[in-house]
Amino acid sequence: MTESGLAAILPQLASAAPHTHALGFSLVSHEDGVAILKAPYREDLIGDPDTRVLAGGLVTTLLDHASGMAVWLALDRFVSIATLDLRIDYMRAAKPGLDLMARAKCYKLTRSIAFVRAWAYDVTADDPVAAAQSTFMLDSDGGRTLGSNLKPSSAKARP
């Protein structure tokens, strides 16, 4: 891990992108192919004003991001990745006032695809709030360069 230099940028990968920064994500711990991420409980991220439970969308984003982190940890290097497919089961509502955690494990890598499972919980990992199963495309930029998404779509090749 030290050779690849991934360890040095892990905290940034967890929380430096504008959206993850805005949500306050942080990396709690990691090992080979496993990432544990935390999202702090915040009033402005509530999804149901009656129950004050965090929005399902926040759980979705946390699971998606923890899963992506697990892919980088399994690869032991940073590459551009993109979520292809994400399936989430919501088992129960997160408890209001508690931070949300997600543990993701990348259990299979192929040349172009990574397979990941993840769980979100608030108190203990054995009482999950939600579970996720996802696949990621590796090297997803496919040679697309800096700012390529800024070009008008009509300029893109349409085979």
Binding site: A17, P18, H19, T20, H21, A22, E43, D44, L45, I46, G47, D48, P49, D50, L54, A55, G56, G57, L58, T60, T61, L62, L63, D64, H65, S80, A82, T83, L84, D85, L86, R87, I88, D89, Y90, A93, S140, D141, R144, L146, G147, S148, N149, L150, S153, R158
Partner: protein, 168 residues
């Protein structure tokens, strides 16, 4: 919330903190609902391309399913999600994203909703003639709702069948 409360387009923006955080809003044309997510810097997940965070698209579509269900089914509380599947077709570009939801079935306790999200142009009529629910198909839920024609969906960012528990 009292039983008399009806969910309105304004409710989602004014009363749901997370919708406000995303900057999403809802527009109604008669009974047709469109959810709109203007691009904002804090939604970026990949600053290189730049691209919207995949979670933003998932969260936005989930909110769309929720809002459509709450608007078309008069219940006293918001529906809660049971399961969500998101099929990502391409990265979300730094543009306004739109989403529409179709309520496939509403049961006593569970409802099925499909959501489609796109940017700029919706990419022509996207129909699923072969995707009628089979007899008893609602129980198979997600399976029956999964769209397998992603290659035809060039203009659509994502597609998601979702479940939501119907409150009493």
């Amino acid at each position: 919330m009292s039983d008399a409360t009806e969910f309105s387009a304004e409710f989602f923006i004014d009363k749901i903190p997370y919708a406000h955080f995303l900057g999403a809003r809802i527009e109604l044309a008669g009974d047709e609902m469109t959810a709109i997510l203007p691009f904002a810097q804090h939604l970026v997940g990949n600053p290189i391309l730049p691209a919207l965070h995949g979670g933003v698209l998932g969260a936005f579509m989930e909110m769309t399913a929720m809002a459509q269900l709450a608007l078309s089914e008069k219940r006293s509380r918001l529906p809660r999600p049971i399961g969500v599947t998101v099929e990502y077709l391409r990265s979300g570009r730094p543009l306004t994203t739109y989403a529409r939801a179709v309520v496939k079935r509403v049961g006593r306790r569970v409802a099925n909703v499909d959501v489609e999200a796109w940017q700029e142009s919706r990419g022509g009529a996207h129909r699923h003639p072969a995707r009628e629910l089979p007899p008893g198909g609602a129980r198979q839920g997600l399976k029956s709702g999964v769209c397998n024609c992603s290659r035809e969906l060039r203009q659509c960012a994502t597609f998601s069948p979702a479940f939501a528990a119907m409150p009493d």
